[in-house]
């Protein structure tokens, strides 16, 4: 086990390839580091400039007044190897190679990448990349990415990704939202993953008090046994969600047996993820929704769901999705049913899903929602709540946000909210900002988030 703190939470950073040119990756990355208010010394390395964005520049790493923790390398492909050697010679502890054009591009690139790895391994230099968008650690002000983010919502989610630009694009999308932004404290992209891997990251986040929830985008697991043993420990306090594409890729292995031809790496991995209680997301939407639910909500105590809806159709759709994902519908207590009857006409018997649209006609929107939702949240048989609510004018009432905030606080149960409507939907969503209530675009997204949450925590 090795400590990747110098890479992920450095005390000092140098950038080889830093420039004042805002159209170049090296310019954007350095600008992001400066504007992110990195907590320690920041050194641009540039042979010609004396100053870049107000920071004194140095021609080489050897000219720096100290041995730096982390060096970003933002250079054309052919200069990367020399830069890595320079890192080793100058006693840097970690390097992040932004540059692309290695194993992801060609056989020749693969060879060049292997040599980088050999140099790093021989010296103990921690390596991220090549072919990475960079690394963000909001807690230390490290915005080490060549994507320019309009703002960054920091918080308990820690990402580890093995990809080129995906993380940056997804984070840009997430952070651009007007509400419900995923709070990400760390986003560590190792690109082609030549050195630092998912196991190193799990060791790091295990001891990181700021990490509450872990999201991994991985294409492979380098050392599955050690990874799953570590994951078993980490998930007890920090749930893990994995997005691993390639489910349909033909992974058949030549073999005399049926087992051999069935045992694709993805099939085995899929079983192992279930075995060790790691949730597997199907796509990027699933992944982000599950993480949002996990970071905003308390842990479920069971797998029984209570559904409240003002649309019979959405209630049935929710039931299908939840049951297909292995969750159960809660059986309501007599007291719950009695309370629900209070907002329904005599001829309508409440059930799960609890459809109370007609109660809005009878009692008005405020009372119907308040009585119905309170009964649902209060039921001891309900471990998780899914609300699919319509918000046209006659269902709207000004106290909606206060009601849901109060229920969330009082009962401390995981709840997923889906709101369909126009102007009121935006108002309801805005009224719940910061309340720890995740809101989803579709019933499917909400139901999947709850089921992945259960997989990751129970």
């Amino acid at each position: 086990m090795r400590d990747i703190t110098p890479l992920v939470a450095p005390r000092s950073i140098a950038v080889i390839g830093a420039s004042a040119n805002p159209t170049k990756s090296g310019g954007v990355l350095f600008d992001n580091l400066v504007k992110g208010n990195f907590r320690g010394p920041l050194y641009p390395i540039n042979r010609t400039a004396t100053q870049i964005m107000g920071k004194s520049a140095y021609p080489t790493l050897a000219d720096l007044p100290e041995k730096v923790d982390l060096v970003y390398i933002v250079l054309p492909q052919q200069h990367v190897k020399e830069a890595v050697k320079q890192c080793v010679a100058a006693g840097a502890r970690a390097a992040c190679i932004i540059t692309a054009g290695f194993s992801e591009a060609s056989q020749k690139g693969r060879g060049a990448e292997e040599r980088l790895c050999e140099i790093a391994r021989a010296s103990g230099l921690l390596l991220a990349g090549p072919n990475t968008i960079g690394m963000v650690n909001a807690e230390v002000g490290m915005m080490g990415s060549f994507v320019n983010f309009p703002r960054w919502e920091s918080g308990g989610v820690s990402f580890f990704t093995q990809t080129g630009i995906f993380t940056g694009a997804v984070m840009l999308h997430v952070m651009s939202g007007a509400s419900q932004r995923l709070p990400v404290g760390k986003s560590i992209d190792v690109g082609n993953k030549v050195d630092v891997d998912e196991l190193d990251f799990l060791h790091f986040v295990a001891d990181d008090p700021a990490t509450k929830v872990i999201g991994l985008y991985i294409e492979s697991i380098r050392n599955p046994r050690a990874f799953f043993e570590q994951a078993r420990e980490v998930r007890k306090s920090k749930p893990i969600v994995v997005l691993k594409p390639g489910r349909t890729k033909d992974g058949a292995k030549a073999s005399a047996s049926h087992t051999g031809s069935l045992a694709s790496d993805d099939d085995i991995l899929d079983g192992a993820l279930r075995q060790y209680g790691i949730a597997r997301a199907e796509d990027e939407d699933d992944f982000l929704n599950a993480l949002r639910a996990l970071v905003m909500l308390p842990r479920p105590r069971g797998r029984r769901v209570g559904i409240a809806t003002t649309s019979g159709a959405l209630g049935v759709i929710a039931t299908d999705l939840l049951v297909e994902s292995g969750l159960e519908l809660a059986a309501f207590e007599p007291a719950t049913l009695a309370a629900m009857r209070g907002v329904l006409p005599d001829w309508l018997e409440p059930a799960n899903p609890f459809d109370f649209w007609i109660g809005i006609d009878i009692k008005g929107p405020r009372e119907a929602h308040e009585v119905g939702l309170t009964a649902l949240f209060a039921d001891p048989n309900v471990d998780l709540v899914l609300c699919t609510l319509l918000a046209p004018g006659n269902a709207d009432f000004p106290e909606f946000g206060d009601l849901v905030r109060r229920l969330r606080r009082t009962y401390d149960k995981p709840v997923a909210l889906v709101i369909y409507g126009g102007e009121a939907e935006q108002r309801w969503t805005a009224a719940l900002e910061g309340a720890g209530v995740p809101i989803f675009k579709t019933t499917r997204a909400g139901a999947r988030a709850l089921s992945l949450m259960v997989e990751a925590t129970m």
């Binding site: 799953f228 005399a256 279930r274 075995q275």
Partner: protein, 240 residues
């Protein structure tokens, strides 16, 4: 009559290595399973067709007759399995038919003889396997077996060793596995016997000799009735 195989895995491995082969024959694999308390149908291997009637008279009818040749791992594909065979004379004829089919479809293969077993079919057929995967290490696979195993892919994997909770989850992971508990009017299959087989393979996955030499132990089909389980066919592949 063929010499009855030892159930001692060290002896079986040594014999296979001496002959430079990495697949154990079906009688060898079944002798091993029997030694591990995994039930197999009563039966006997013979070298020549004319020995078949005596075996059938002892076993009773019906029987199944199979080619024995370690290179022949997908016997059904070449018609080298015949069932139900209803008389001693029919068993001898079945041996000759199988020999002719193998000679036609796989002239490269030398037959070692024939395996004659009590015919004990049951539905559905399951597949249970231990694989020492090069990347993941020992893994256990369970699912719907038989000849459609690759078409339907109703199988799931777990990293070995398995705890009881892992086994329970594995036995419920795919829709087809509901057939383990519902039997539509018949007595339900002995689920505990299936669990025992998985537990046994899981234990084997932790034995140094198995890890060192064996690449796969595959039981397909395994049938489960209210009276327990039977491994109808088995394949053991050594690391090459």
């Amino acid at each position: 009559m063929l010499m009855q195989a030892s159930g001692d895995i060290a002896i079986l491995i040594a014999a296979a290595r001496a002959q430079r082969r990495n697949v154990l024959s079906e009688p060898e694999a079944k002798a091993f399973l029997r030694a591990q308390d995994i039930p197999v149908p009563p039966g006997c291997a013979v070298s020549h067709a004319e020995e078949a009637p005596a075996v059938v008279r002892e076993l009773g009818t019906p029987v199944v007759v199979k080619a024995v040749a370690h290179q022949l791992t997908h016997k059904t594909d070449v018609g080298a399995v015949m069932f139900p065979v209803e008389s001693p004379a029919a068993a001898e004829a079945a041996c000759r038919t199988i020999a002719a089919r193998v000679a036609t479809h796989r002239p490269d293969i030398a037959l070692d003889g024939f395996l004659i077993e009590a015919y004990r079919p049951a539905q559905p057929e399951w597949i249970v396997a231990l694989r020492n995967d090069p990347h993941f290490g020992p893994v256990i696979m369970f699912g719907l077996g038989g000849i459609y195993v690759e078409t339907l892919r109703q199988v799931s994997f777990r990293l070995a060793p398995l705890c009881d909770r892992d086994i329970e989850a594995l036995l419920g992971e795919r829709p087809a596995m509901q057939l383990l508990s519902s039997a539509r009017g018949r007595a339900p299959p002995d689920r505990r016997a299936v669990v025992d087989v998985l537990r046994r393979l899981s234990d084997l996955s932790q034995q140094p000799l198995i890890v060192r030499d064996i690449s796969e132990i595959e039981i397909n089909p395994l049938v489960a009735t209210e009276n327990g389980v039977l491994a109808l066919d088995a394949l053991i592949v050594l690391h090459s």
